[in-house]
C-alpha cells in the first residue's frame, strides 16, 4: 500500500486532465446555456462557433509567430485570443442579423430555430474546413510543462511522477477568471441584470423598458468570447481538428442539460460532472488500485470500465438518466 503514490497517480491521470477538460466543457456549456436562456433555443452551431474562434486564433498565432512576437513562456495563442474573439463576434452577430433575427421577428417556434441553427452549423463547419483544412493543426508554443514528471520525481523522491501541462494549468486558470468575470457581469452590472431579467420573464423585461435587440446582441458578444476561449483552450490542450469540435457538441449539450438549461451555475457543474465521469469511466485504474490496495487484492487486468473509444457514450448515459429523473437538470433550469 502506498497512498502517496496512489494519490499522485490519481491526480496526474484523472484529476488534472478531468479538471482541464471540465473547464473547457463548462465554458462551452455556458455559451449554450446563455443562448438557451435568452434566445430560447438550443444552438447546435455552438461547437462550430468554437472551431471558428479557435481557427481565427490559430491563424493570428501563426502570423505572430512569423513576426517573432511571443509572450514566452505563455503560448502566443493567448495574445491572439482577442482577435479570435473579435472575428467570432462579428461572425455570430452577422449570423444573427442575417438568419436568426428573421425567425425571431416571425416569432418562430423554438424547434424551428434549432433546425435553423443546425443549418448554420453546417455552413460554419464547411467554412472552417475550407479555410484551415481538415487536418490536425499545431499552434501551441512556449513552455510545455509547468512541472514535468521527471522534475516532480526528483523533487519528491516518489515513484510516480506528476506532470502539469502548461495548457492544462492555463485552461483552469482562464476558466476561473472567465467564469468569475461572467458572473460579476450578470449579477452586478445593469446590462447583466437586464439579461437575467429578459431570460426570466420576457414580457416583463419589455415592460421595464429593456431593449430586446440590445440584450440579444450583448448575449451573442459574450457567447462569441466564451466559444473562442473554450475552443482555443481545447485546441491548446489536445489538438485542433475541425471535426473534434463537432463531436464536442454532445458533451457540451449534456453538460448544459445536466446542470439545467438556462442556468449558468448548472452549466459549470454539469461540465465538471460530465468530464469527471468520462475520465473516471474510461481510465485504467490498475496503477492507482495497485498502490492503494493490499498486494493480494491488486487487480490483474487494467481495471478499465470502458474503452476510451466509448467516452461519448458516458455523456449520453448521464444525459438520459438526468432527463428521466430530473428533466429540469440538477440546478433547476428550464425543462427541455
Amino acid at each position: 500500500m502506498d497512498f502517496l503514490n496512489a494519490l499522485v497517480a490519481l491526480t496526474n491521470f484523472v484529476i488534472i486532465p478531468a479538471t482541464a477538460y471540465g473547464s473547457q466543457l463548462a465554458l462551452g456549456a455556458l455559451g449554450v446555456t446563455l443562448i438557451y436562456g435568452i434566445l430560447r433555443f438550443s444552438n447546435f452551431a455552438h461547437g462550430d462557433t468554437m472551431a471558428f474562434g479557435a481557427m481565427v486564433t490559430i491563424l493570428v498565432t501563426w502570423a505572430f509567430q512569423k513576426m517573432g512576437v511571443s509572450i514566452a513562456p505563455l503560448p502566443t495563442a493567448l495574445l491572439a485570443l482577442p482577435f479570435g474573439i473579435a472575428a467570432t463576434a462579428a461572425l455570430v452577430i452577422g449570423t444573427d442579423r442575417a438568419v436568426y433575427r428573421f425567425y425571431r421577428e416571425k416569432k418562430a417556434a423554438p424547434v424551428t430555430l434549432v433546425i435553423v441553427s443546425m443549418g448554420v452549423m453546417f455552413v460554419m463547419n464547411g467554412l472552417v474546413r475550407f479555410i484551415i483544412g481538415v487536418d490536425d493543426q499545431r499552434f501551441g508554443d512556449g513552455a510545455r510543462f509547468i512541472i514535468s514528471a521527471r522534475d516532480f520525481k526528483e523533487m519528491t523522491g516518489l515513484r510516480e511522477g506528476l506532470a502539469i501541462k502548461t495548457s492544462a494549468g492555463l485552461t483552469i486558470i482562464t476558466a476561473v477568471i472567465v467564469v468569475a468575470a461572467l458572473f460579476w457581469f450578470l449579477n452586478k452590472t445593469r446590462t447583466g441584470k437586464s439579461m437575467r431579467a429578459y431570460s426570466d420573464n420576457e414580457d416583463l423585461a419589455l415592460l421595464s423598458g429593456i431593449n430586446p435587440e440590445r440584450v440579444v446582441m450583448v448575449t451573442w458578444l459574450i457567447v462569441a468570447a466564451l466559444a473562442t476561449i473554450a475552443g482555443t483552450l481545447y485546441g491548446l490542450d489536445k489538438s485542433f481538428k475541425p471535426f473534434t469540435y463537432f463531436q464536442l457538441l454532445l458533451p457540451i449539450f449534456a453538460s448544459a442539460i445536466v446542470g439545467g438549461l438556462g442556468n449558468p451555475l448548472g452549466a459549470i457543474a454539469g461540465g465538471f460532472l460530465i468530464a469527471y465521469s468520462e475520465v473516471a469511466v474510461t481510465y485504467a485504474w490498475k496503477k492507482v488500485l495497485t498502490y492503494s490496495l493490499p498486494e493480494s487484492f491488486a487487480p490483474e487486468g487494467l481495471a478499465q470500465l470502458l474503452s476510451t473509444d466509448y467516452k461519448h457514450a458516458v455523456s449520453f448515459v448521464i444525459l438520459i438518466i438526468v432527463l428521466l429523473f430530473k428533466p429540469t437538470g440538477l440546478f433547476k433550469g428550464k425543462s427541455v
Binding site: 445593469r190 437586464s194 426570466d200 420573464n201 423585461a205 415592460l207 421595464s208 423598458g209 429593456i210
Partner: protein, 380 residues
C-alpha cells in the same frame, strides 16, 4: 395625459377591440370593467406595445403618439403596466426587481428617490430587499410588481387585475395603496373584475363589452347603475327587475333573455353562469345590460319588490317550488329510464311572475366510450 382614440386590435380574424376611446388624466383613477374576454387585457397590452395583434387608431401621451412604438420607447414615454398574474422577475431579488423597473432613461436619475418612495409605500419590500421574489407570498409579489412599475417614474400606471388571487383584506390594502400612488400625481388605469372595491377608489369608469366601450360614467354613478350592479356587483334583486323590464319591451333580444334567465334560488347571482352564455353563443349579461340601459330612461327603477318584499313569503314560495320540483323529478324518474343527458327539465311556473320563464338547467353529463383498440371515442 393618456388618450386612446378609436383603437382597434385584431388577432387575425378575431376583433379583440373595436374603436375604443378612453382618457386618463393626471392623478385620476379610471377603472375598466368587463367580463372575461371583453378585451381589457388587450387594451392595456396594446397601449404598452406588447400586443401581438394588428392595431389601428391613436394612443397619445402628452401629445406624443405612442401606438406602434417599441415597448421600451413607450416606457420612456411614461406609461407603465403591471401585467396580469404576478408581474415579477421570479428568480431575481426584490431589490433587483425594483431596480430593473428603473431601467428606462427617464427613471435612472431618480432611481434612489423612487426606490425610497416605493419602500415607504410598501414597507414590507424594504424589509425583504434581498429575498428572491418567487419565494414571497402572493400579496407581497403583487407589491413587488406594482413597485417595479412605479420605479419607471410613470405618468400613467396601468394595472391588469391586480386583485386577482388576493385575499379580500390584502385586496383592500392594495387598493388603498393605489390611492396613495394617485396622490403622487400618477394617473391610474385599472382593469378589474372586482367592481365593488375598484369603483370605490376610482374617479371614472368605462364598461367594456365584446370589444366595445358601451358606457362611460363617474365611478359613483356606475356603482349605482342597475346594469353595472347586475353584471358586476351581484345585485340579484334589481337584476331580475331589470330583466323583467327588458322582457316587457317586445324586442327580439328581450325574448331571448326571458327565455334563458336561469334560476338560482338560494343565493344571489354573482358570477355570470357559463352554460347559459355558451348555449346562447353570446353574453347573457351583455344582453341584460343593454336591455336595461335602453329601458332605464323610460322606466323608473323598480321598487325592488323581490328584495324588499317580505322574506318569509319569498322563502315559502321558494321552498314550495323546490318541493314541487323535487316531486316532479322523482315522478319523471319513475316513468322514464335514467337518461344521462336531460337537456331541460321545466319547472312549474310561479303564478306571480308570469313574464319570466324560469328554467332549471340540469348539469349536462355526456358519456363517451372509447372504442376498443383505438383512440376514437363515440358518444354513449
Amino acid at each position: 395625459m393618456l388618450e386612446v382614440r378609436n383603437l382597434s386590435v385584431a388577432y387575425g380574424q378575431h376583433r379583440a377591440l373595436e374603436n375604443v376611446s378612453i382618457k386618463i388624466d393626471k392623478g385620476e383613477i379610471v377603472v375598466i370593467l368587463g367580463a372575461n374576454g371583453a378585451g381589457k387585457s388587450t387594451l392595456l397590452r396594446a397601449i404598452s406595445g406588447i400586443c401581438e395583434g394588428q392595431h389601428s387608431g391613436d394612443v397619445v401621451v402628452d401629445g406624443h403618439p405612442i401606438l406602434g412604438l417599441s415597448s421600451d420607447r413607450i416606457v420612456e414615454g411614461g406609461v407603465a403596466l403591471v401585467p396580469e398574474g404576478r408581474g415579477i422577475f421570479g428568480d431575481l431579488t426584490v431589490r433587483e426587481n425594483l431596480v430593473l423597473g428603473a431601467y428606462a432613461n427617464r427613471a435612472r436619475d431618480d432611481e434612489a428617490a423612487n426606490l425610497e418612495r416605493v419602500m415607504s409605500l410598501f414597507p414590507k419590500l424594504g424589509e425583504r430587499q434581498n429575498q428572491i421574489a418567487r419565494t414571497m407570498s402572493g400579496g407581497e409579489q403583487q407589491m413587488v410588481a406594482i413597485g417595479r412599475a412605479m420605479m419607471s417614474n410613470p405618468q400613467i400606471l396601468m394595472l391588469d387585475e391586480p386583485s386577482l388571487g388576493l385575499s379580500p383584506l390584502l385586496c383592500k390594502e392594495l387598493f388603498q395603496s393605489l390611492t396613495e400612488v394617485r396622490k403622487a400625481g400618477i394617473g391610474i388605469l385599472l382593469v378589474e373584475q372586482n367592481a365593488k372595491q375598484s369603483l370605490a377608489i376610482a374617479d371614472r369608469g368605462y364598461l367594456l363589452e365584446n370589444a366595445h366601450i358601451v358606457h362611460e360614467d363617474s365611478a359613483q354613478k356606475l356603482a349605482s347603475d342597475p346594469a353595472v350592479q347586475k353584471a358586476y356587483l351581484g345585485a340579484g334583486g334589481t337584476a331580475s327587475g331589470a330583466a323583467k323590464k327588458g322582457s316587457a319591451e317586445k324586442s327580439a333580444e328581450d325574448a331571448v333573455i326571458a327565455d334563458v334567465v336561469t334560476r338560482q334560488p338560494f343565493r344571489q347571482r354573482v358570477v355570470p353562469r357559463r352554460n347559459a352564455d355558451d348555449l346562447l353563443g353570446q353574453s347573457v349579461d351583455a344582453l341584460v345590460a343593454s336591455a336595461s340601459v335602453k329601458s332605464a330612461p323610460t322606466l323608473s327603477r323598480p321598487k325592488a319588490s323581490s328584495t324588499a318584499g317580505s322574506h318569509e313569503a319569498r322563502l315559502k314560495t321558494m321552498i314550495a317550488e323546490i318541493e314541487t320540483a323535487a316531486a316532479g323529478a322523482r315522478q319523471k324518474r319513475r316513468l322514464q329510464p335514467v337518461r344521462m343527458q336531460s337537456p331541460e327539465v321545466p319547472v312549474p311556473k310561479e303564478p306571480k311572475k308570469p313574464v319570466v320563464v324560469e328554467v332549471y338547467r340540469a348539469p349536462r353529463v355526456e358519456v363517451y366510450r372509447r372504442r376498443e383498440g383505438s383512440n376514437e371515442f363515440e358518444r354513449d
